[in-house]
Symmetry: C2
Subunit: 494 residues, 2 copies
């Protein structure tokens, strides 16, 4: 059937979608979410069908085309395309199989991942896959197959070196910028650590957002390899690299219900690490009320699974269960966190001691994993001698940045101190409120926005003393963040 | 935050959706599928958020509004609306609870149904609900709560009569137009049978599509009540009646994977029956390879559940397990089926005997349920005496139609006989192919399109004899249907 293209000027954000009028749909015996082949000259693309009841939206004889299809086929308004019925993706059958509680084979998982990567599944279909994995928990074997499949359907960094060190912190607590300290320490010690990090999704800053205050973070795999071969380490944004791209699409449909299918959390992290050929991986699992992992039982189960998958992938994996009850470090938000890190590396007295201790402990573990003794003292020496700082400057320069003094990092021009209304001890800090206020203040989009914590849990505080300071770059965000801070209970003091 | 309305000229087909620019979204700390309150003057509506990365799609300062929201708030382009963060629907938590394998309470199920009816859930969220019910099978108790809740959140037909008779056939086999025979027989016997039927979703004709050849089928509840009080029976389209509207929305997200959560199938049917206050309900469960219920074990389980729920709802429910291996009746498609029914009621020799026998057997069961003996003979008498036909004419007239001779029903002007390539016995007929060819020929949109079967399973056939005839109203559909019939194996002859 020949139809005339109507550019809908809409992006689906992933799936390839076309809309046809219900009369044309009836003719082709098509229903919502069926598939059609759209052909323009020699190029063909398979798309998900949506059906328009109103002729105003898509009249008979036309096909409404979403941006993803427009781009793929290089279509223009009023182009004539040929539409034919296509089979539904094979993976739909396999998703149903998993939903029915059966195990999936390598080929079936591969097909699902291929269809995800190539945008062949609608978000509803993808949601069924996530639900299937969530309720009929994947076996370790399936998780390993999923991990390998996600790696195979993406790019891979090949360094041909050994060991290649890596670390990952499972999100959920504000601050916690360990990567920016650990990478220069490990690299200064002479080991490869090709670190990819995420930008923020739900937090005030991802490691990539913070690193971006100091250097560029968006690179190709080729350029990343150059940087790592030269500086031994890097801190780049994983999102631009096409490493295990299926993962990002899965995460998108997990958000609405905030479900984390454990198998997918495991596969997601291990796939990203596998994609950069890491051999020794340290995983930080913060446990606390408002983090991803809320209790010790969950953390221990995760630890066991990570280690099992690590063995199967022939990698050394160690899992550290750490305190996730309060933010780590003082700054929350890209610029404030970057300043913390520079202070730490430059041994400035204003450096956050909690972050430093955690980083040293993690480095000690990493050194231990590759057989180096006395890792804590070694790491502390690398820090104190200024070698870590020099290495960080080298990495920053390799990533197109320049040496910056902590004082020259631009912090939001509007600031407001939130004072304690009574004297006592800080009993707890609400991670979620800290994140929320920082985000509303403008982080991570406004690099200088966020929160600077003056007190941590256990600290003594007097009435009228500053608990934390809110920073914003815009008046409007600033007022709104102040309002939210006023309403919520951020600190508990007794 | 004040934003200017951009009418997107798109309908979501249900959920209330607004799109805002990623910069505005960051400011409000909003993510995809979060909820916002949209206020225009005194009216407020809660909508699902989608986020535009491109300013071309939705620029900063604007809010892209889908038709459902436009209509609800009576918005126009460039209206200024006030946007505020809203909580996610409560039911999202309950859906997650079910996904975690827990039981839902009455209040929780009520909240989910309320949110579904009021379009508060996105299709991804609804898919999670279906998946949750599918994998963590609902208890009978939960199914009953869901049934009652779906009834409560919709309109109800109150006749204040007893008994009120009803029947339902679980779909999947072509033809099978028992309703159009059973309703006039039961009504002619003096009993109330307020039958609501569906239009086709995936089949060549729903009962409502077929009845529409003879009379109107779209009525309000009030008008339906008038018809039933006058003629004792009716055959109207359920879709226009707002009976258990949550059900239709659930079915929409089940289609992509073709999953039928059993609890939802049960709740769906029982809710529709409960909504018209039926007291005695006969359920026809055809079993066959290409039907909804594929084996006896599944049919028996369904039978048990139906009867259990019936008891709990204080209704007499009887389930008949019937042969679903081949089409019932000769005509497939609205006009061809209507002609079969008129022939049957008028005792024309061309009437389909298989359909007649099935209807008589079902009527006998219905009479038995209300304590009337010798129901088969009674039904046959009502048929043979012409009383069923007169009653059908009365119902047709009450529904705004007029008496029509079977010969005056307009059948597609293009026709093609498909001949047998060999002699033998008909071993099987592929239900799916029969449906598919009929739909492609134009059914149910083109009333006169479809298939007329000349042979059934068990019949002898000679080489060159007609197996079935394809009818179409348009040349294009006709050619395509012939092609499909040529490729597929519709009849197996040995």
């Amino acid at each position: 059937m020949k139809l005339k293209v109507k550019d809908m000027d809409i992006s689906s954000g992933g799936p390839l979608v076309c809309v046809i009028n219900h009369q044309d749909a009836a003719m082709l015996d098509l229903h919502v979410m069926d598939r059609i082949k759209v052909r323009k000259e020699k190029k063909t693309e398979t798309a998900v069908v949506d059906i328009a009841q109103s002729s105003k939206f898509v009249p008979k004889g036309k096909v409404g085309v979403f941006e993803e299809v427009i781009n793929s086929l290089k279509l223009e308004n009023n182009n004539i395309v040929d539409i034919a019925i296509a089979r539904k993706p094979l993976s739909i059958e396999f998703i149903k199989k998993k939903l029915d509680g059966q195990r999936l084979s390598k080929e079936e998982i591969d097909q699902i991942v291929w269809d995800i990567v190539h945008n062949k599944l609608s978000s509803v279909e993808l949601a069924y896959f996530v639900a299937a994995c969530y309720t009929n928990i994947m076996t370790t074997e399936e998780t390993i197959l999923l991990t390998k499949s996600m790696v195979r359907h993406g790019d891979v960094l090949q360094l041909n070196k050994r060991p290649i060190i890596d670390k990952h912190s499972i999100g959920g607590i504000p601050g916690n910028r360990t990567t920016l300290v650990i990478v220069p320490i490990i690299a200064a010690a002479g080991y490869f650590i090709p670190k990819t990090s995420s930008r923020s999704i739900t937090s005030p800053a991802g490691t990539a957002d913070t690193m971006e205050v100091l250097a560029k973070v968006t690179f190709s795999i080729k350029k990343m390899k150059e940087i790592v071969l030269k500086a031994k380490g890097c801190i780049v944004w994983g999102g631009s690299l096409n490493l295990a791209p299926a993962d990002d699409k899965i995460i998108a449909v997990e958000r609405p219900l905030e479900i984390d299918a454990e198998s997918q959390l495991l596969a997601s992290i291990m796939a990203k690490k596998h994609s950069v050929s890491s051999t020794h991986i340290l995983i930080d699992v913060p446990v606390g009320n408002n983090t991803k992992v809320r209790n010790m039982a969950g953390a221990l189960r995760l630890k066991k699974e990570f280690e099992k998958i690590g063995r199967r992938l022939k990698k050394r994996v160690k899992v550290l269960i750490t305190d996730g009850t309060q933010p780590i470090g003082n700054g929350i938000g890209p610029a404030l966190e970057a300043r913390d890190v520079l202070w730490l590396l430059k041994r400035d007295p204003r450096r956050p001691i909690d972050l430093e201790k955690k980083c040293l402990m993690m480095c000690a573990n990493l050194f231990g994993m590759i057989g180096i003794k006395d890792g804590y003292r070694k790491s502390l020496y690398i820090l104190n001698s200024g070698k870590a700082y020099s290495k960080m400057v080298e990495i920053i320069k390799a990533q197109g940045g320049k040496e910056t003094a902590a004082e020259d990092i631009s912090i939001g021009k509007f600031s407001h101190d939130v004072l304690s209304s009574k004297s006592g001890n800080v009993k707890s800090i609400d991670n979620m409120m800290i994140s929320r206020i920082s985000r509303i203040a403008g982080a991570p989009a406004d690099k200088g926005a966020g929160i600077y914590l003056c007190k941590h849990v256990g600290d003594k505080v007097r009435r009228g003393e500053t608990l934390f300071t809110i920073y914003s770059e815009g008046r409007h965000e600033f007022e709104y963040a102040k309002d939210v801070a006023k309403q919520g209970r951020v600190f508990v003091i007794r």
